[in-house]
């Protein structure tokens, strides 16, 4: 048997049928559902008189629209002030009740961002296929799972058939060799990768992340890396299974138990690319070269290390780059600014499916502990990724550290990541954000997003502008 990549193995394992036109039916082990992209899918099932193929292969939770202020959340669904949001949340509840799908409703402690909840519950397992009507489903690839973001018609297709029609992607390996410097995190690694290959660098590929620096990451860190594979153009991000993966999964509510656990671990130990497996494209980065990263523009590839000057449109030789940089400069209000330190921040957001897990919150708390948020900031919020992350953080006293430093401690949800609820930026405001997209208007009309790691966001909150977290903690 010839050597296979991890992606090849997962693909072959889920292949139900190959078609003449090169597409294939792929079996889906788990579908995650949330309130925004599922209503029409359920409606479609109803109109066609179809039933879900396998109810237990679905898991739902509302996240995009739920309010995150403690006041609004206290009164449950009635507390959602935006009527459109409320309808979407109620509709998810009704659909899940009607079809018998397990849902962690808004007031359930297990509710949270789908991509935090799946792994936390052990619903996301190595060797599975995971889909969700959300592009950041690539997150789950951190477990050696094949995870795709899909559209609403496909959500319905998976509900009805347990399969997805797919064409196989090419294989790409991104290897990060060496050891990461202090305070350099998974977020910096993935931003540096996107900076290196560009937002279309992974288009048409499934990206496997490997190398010593990736292997040294915790599962939380690995999820952060795979989460942003889509920002590099790849629908799928993957990391091979090792002891770290298995230790994380063990004893989670939906993880296999007893004899089945042993059987599963045996199977999971095969989930890595074979020696000599062929990759169509290989990119290598050195961990030592990666410094804390900050995006300056309106695309995740517009990223630099904290000590680099902001690149100027007029210095670009490529005409296309000149134009897109000029547009980004204008939108981001960078005229007269040379370095990231020159940007005065209005808000700080620590949260999103990229960086709202317990480890992210611990690091941020570490930085702000005993310090105060800059008085020039209008707002600094910490939004845990799930009710369980919130509970764990409170048990560790992290909430106290945040509130004493002057950050707000919120209820779980997507929040300011996409500004579908009340958490948003004002026109022209700059925000240090641990989320994954800095597109125009993403965090609110005219809002200016800078993507950073939790440590860098925390440091920025204290300083009121961007600063290398290493410098801040020295004092």
């Amino acid at each position: 048997m010839s050597a296979k990549t991890l992606y090849d193995k997962l693909w072959d394992d889920h292949l139900v049928q190959e078609r003449d036109d090169g597409s294939a039916l792929i079996y889906i082990d788990l579908q995650l559902l949330h309130e925004v992209t599922s209503p029409q899918a359920f409606e479609g099932l109803r109109i066609a008189g179809r039933k879900p193929w396998r109810i237990s292969a679905n898991l739902a939770t509302p996240d995009h629209n739920v309010p995150t202020t403690n006041v609004e959340r206290k009164s449950g669904i009635e507390g959602i002030s935006d009527p459109v949001s409320k309808i979407q949340v109620v509709t998810l509840d009704d659909n899940c009740d009607e079809f018998g799908i397990t849902e962690f409703k808004m007031q359930d402690v297990r509710q949270g961002i789908v991509h935090v909840v799946g792994p936390e519950q052990g619903a996301t397992l190595p060797g599975t296929t995971v889909v969700c009507g959300d592009s950041h489903t690539s997150t789950h690839g951190a477990f050696g799972a094949l995870a795709h973001g899909i559209g609403t018609s496909e959500v319905e297709h998976v509900l009805a058939t347990q399969c997805l029609v797919q064409k196989k992607s090419k294989n790409m390996l991104v290897r990060v060799d060496g050891t990461l410097s202090p305070w350099v995190s998974a977020k910096d690694v993935v931003l540096a990768i996107i900076g290196a290959i560009g937002t279309a660098g992974g288009t048409g590929y499934a990206i496997e992340f490997g190398g010593e620096a990736i292997q040294s990451l915790s599962m939380e860190g690995r999820m952060t890396v795979c989460n942003m594979a889509i920002e590099a153009g790849a629908r799928v991000g993957l990391i091979g299974v090792d002891q770290t993966t298995i230790d994380y999964v063990k004893d989670r509510p939906y993880a296999p138990k007893g004899e089945q656990w042993d059987q599963a671990v045996t199977a999971w130990n095969e989930l890595h690319s074979d020696d000599g497996a062929h990759f169509d494209n290989v990119v290598v980065l050195k961990a030592e070269d990666i410094k804390p990263q900050v995006t300056w523009g309106t695309s995740p590839e517009m990223v630099i290390a904290i000590d680099q000057p902001i690149p100027r449109p007029e210095d670009q030789t490529d005409l296309g780059l000149q134009e897109s940089y000029a547009r980004a400069w204008k939108y981001m209000g960078l005229a007269g600014k040379n370095t990231l330190n020159d940007i005065t921040l209005d808000r700080v957001f620590i949260g999103s499916c990229t960086n709202s897990r317990i480890e992210d919150l611990r690091v941020a708390a570490d930085v702000v502990k005993g310090r105060k948020v800059a008085s020039t900031l209008k707002e600094a919020i910490v939004v845990p990724g799930s009710g369980l992350v919130k509970a764990q953080a409170e048990e560790e006293g992290l909430d106290k550290i945040f509130t004493e430093a002057g950050l707000e401690w919120r209820e779980p949800g997507c929040s300011m990541c996409l500004a579908m609820n009340a958490d948003k930026l004002g026109n022209g405001e700059h925000c240090a954000s641990t989320s994954n997209r800095n597109f125009e208007g993403r965090q609110g009309f005219g809002g200016r997003t800078h993507l950073v790691s939790p440590a860098m966001a925390a440091a920025a909150a204290v300083a009121g502008h961007f600063i290398d977290v290493n410098e801040l903690v020295k004092h």
């Binding site: 039916l25 018609s153 058939t161 939906y254 599963a264």
Partner: protein, 215 residues
Amino acid sequence: MRPFTLHTGLVAPLDLANVDTDMIIPKQFLKSIKRTGFGKNLFDELRYEDEGQPDQDCSARPLKKDFVLNQERYKGASVLIARKNFGCGSSREHAPWALDDYGFRVIIAPSFADIFFNNCFKNGLLPIVLSEAQVEQLFTESEAAEGYALNVDLSAQTVTTPSGDEFSFEVDAFRKECLLNGLDDIGLTLQHADTIRSYEEKRKQTSPWLFADKK
């Protein structure tokens, strides 16, 4: 999906080129949680004087009297004819949903935008490409004669006018098959239900832990 075989229907002539999906269904209606109910907002900005809001009762809204669908003689039309590049712009599947919900079954134009063209087939609508001259003839005749209806035969791939002129049209064999049999993507996949089931049985054996109930 509802099958499409033969259809005879009243023609509404929309004398516009480059009709984009924003015109077909404006963005404020995309907040809906439904795939149905877009019919009353089809061509909202062309059809009403005021700006439409989601969930609004449209029966009392002021109409743009000249707009084709507001004219008494085109009430109940199910065949829309239009000029070139119909359905350009955003990929929203809400556009075919709105046309379908309004009652259209066939759209005839000299050319269509790609994504819209695809989306039609997914939703049981038949988009037909005829030549500029043929479309011109349909415009002239339908405007001249009240109650002008076309006969569309998908298996024969023909459009027949009231006076008996017959125009043939092209359609991809696979798509034709799907429409004739009312097969959507899901319907097609479900034709392989046995293959899926036997895969599933195998998977139950090799990975039994994936088949526990979620509570």
